[in-house]
Assembly symmetry: C2
Homo-oligomer: 324 residues x 2
């Protein structure tokens, strides 16, 4: 079928939109323009919807062929029918919004709505180097302010009975550990997200005497995950201990995935990865403690390849693949 799909990715600071020509060759598919619009979440659901509608209008204007579908990645929980069911979102009025139906009525094309981490996983599955074929499976873990996750099995996003599949950030890795916003304690994201790394820095600093620990004591380092990893590259001992702690917890959660979902590829992305390959290397060091020896060798862990555009391309490709 000739035409294109539209992908929308609703992020905390910007809404991204792009058009996807599914008939183009693989490289051509995702080389198009991505438009960005500031999110203005504080004003509630209505302005966010308006931005989405304007974005779709603007990105599709003048394009050859017909718009055949729209895909949207959104924060919060989404049920199997594409309705927003999650409360864990900072957009007032977002919970319960029938976004899928609203966009379908306006554009008269099928709309697929999924959690943004799931659309990101789909983008990495679809355009990654070692996946994208039937039968392939991928788990994507995004290390940002929190930790998001998505599971793609056999080309389909795993949503879960209650829309909670892929919530890897809330796997309890430290029983009775740091309290999490979700109500549990010891969740992975309390240790290995940018926020978790910063907390570790504050907590662990008193036990170290290093440039970073002195900066933290003096109040001249925030600290942030970025500062921790900058210190690590300069050989800081506190930074090394924080990195090991974060890596160990990530490896624990990955072991769980290897023994339950056993995906072909585990992809790690998100802002924390700006620190470089050391994040992947740190995880690998601890995998032998948590992954069955039989699957250790075949376990393929790599850095996300699409970066922050994975979500918008994933949403667009998902809409295309379901409907073209």
């Amino acid at each position: 079928m000739k035409g294109y799909s539209i992908g929308i990715d609703i992020g905390g600071t910007s809404i991204k939109a792009a058009a996807f020509f599914g008939n183009a060759d693989r490289d051509g598919l995702i080389s198009g323009e991505i438009r960005r619009y500031p999110t203005r979440t504080a004003d509630g659901a209505a302005p966010v919807r308006e931005i989405i509608e304007r974005a779709i209008d603007e990105i599709s204007r003048g394009l050859p062929g017909r718009m055949i579908a729209i895909g949207v990645g959104t924060p919060g929980l989404v049920d199997r029918e594409g309705n927003l069911i999650g409360a864990a979102v900072n957009i007032p009025g977002w919970d319960g919004l029938p976004l899928s139906r609203a966009l379908e009525e306006r554009w008269r094309v099928p709309v697929s709505v999924a959690n943004d981490a799931n659309m990101t996983a789909y983008g990495e599955w679809r355009f990654g180097a070692e996946t994208g074929s039937a039968g392939d499976s991928l788990v994507c873990i995004s290390l940002g302010t929190g930790i998001g996750g998505g599971v793609v099995l056999d080309g389909r996003i795993l949503v879960g009975a209650g829309g909670m599949a892929g919530e890897i950030g809330h796997v309890v890795v430290e029983e009775g550990g740091r309290p999490c916003n979700c109500g549990l304690s010891g969740c992975l994201e309390r240790y290995s997200s940018a926020t978790g790394i910063a907390v570790s820095a504050v907590r662990m600093a008193p036990d170290f005497d290093s440039p970073l620990s002195r900066e933290i004591a003096a109040g001249t380092a925030g600290p942030t995950a970025k500062q921790v990893y900058r210190a690590l590259s300069a050989g800081d001992s506190l930074a090394a201990a924080i990195h090991r702690d974060s890596s160990r917890h990530l490896a624990k959660a990955i072991g769980v995935l290897a023994q339950t979902v056993n995906p072909k590829v585990i992809v790690i992305g998100g802002g924390v990865l700006e620190a470089g390959d050391i994040i992947i290397e740190g995880i690998r060091e601890f995998l032998p403690r948590f992954v069955l020896p039989m699957s250790l060798e075949s376990l393929n862990i790599r850095r996300a390849s699409l970066g922050e555009s994975a979500g918008v391309w994933g949403a667009a490709a998902h809409a295309w693949d379901k409907n073209a």
Copy 2:
């Protein structure tokens, strides 16, 4: 299509065989005869194959209609093509056996081979009270000598890239804990299988003064999981502590499943369940520590309903559903 499928379940002590008439009504489906043959694993793969072939001959003799497919549940790892790839089996010569092809050549029908825990999960999914429809998902955890597990998503067994999906018994629940045969330490099955419970009894007995601890000290209790649960029903304090420990570890692994796979139903079966509903109740008590509050209420954990015949009916139904 008129006819039947054959299910084979290869267990440590017996090989079970049954015929499945997929066109019968739901209750009728699994009310047929199950034949049992002693396993004789020590003699190697050839006698086991002979028993399977004899079982198929005998169970199908005189049946109305045509045999349309064969399903086999086997210990060990099975790849996505139904070849045996696992070394973790006590049948010499089993590893690498092209069982699927061998049976196909002899009977000229499609043969589906899967790990026995996966076929058990399929049986529970197919014939359980709250699943069996497209979109439904189920995880089955079998507490026996070890801990087996299987994942059924949308009517399909999740095999995993390396055939390792559903290896729930080897989720590390206690970092640096009891060494496991698999090479890891702290695996779930070291704590919550019948074997694990017996080990806990020996290790924890010195800290208690109870009838069970005195029996263990005197060498008059093995101890076995059965003895522990018998003592528990008599109010023994050591037995209560062992039960809590086992339950907590199970809840931890279930939390992991709830946050990654998020199945509709989690079914617990296996010999340990002979102790009764207390096993499920024990798990429920610890779930709030490990399961996201948002999914806690909807998490459906229940006792397996087919018992030890789940594997053979699962194998038969799987063959039917794939081919009829």
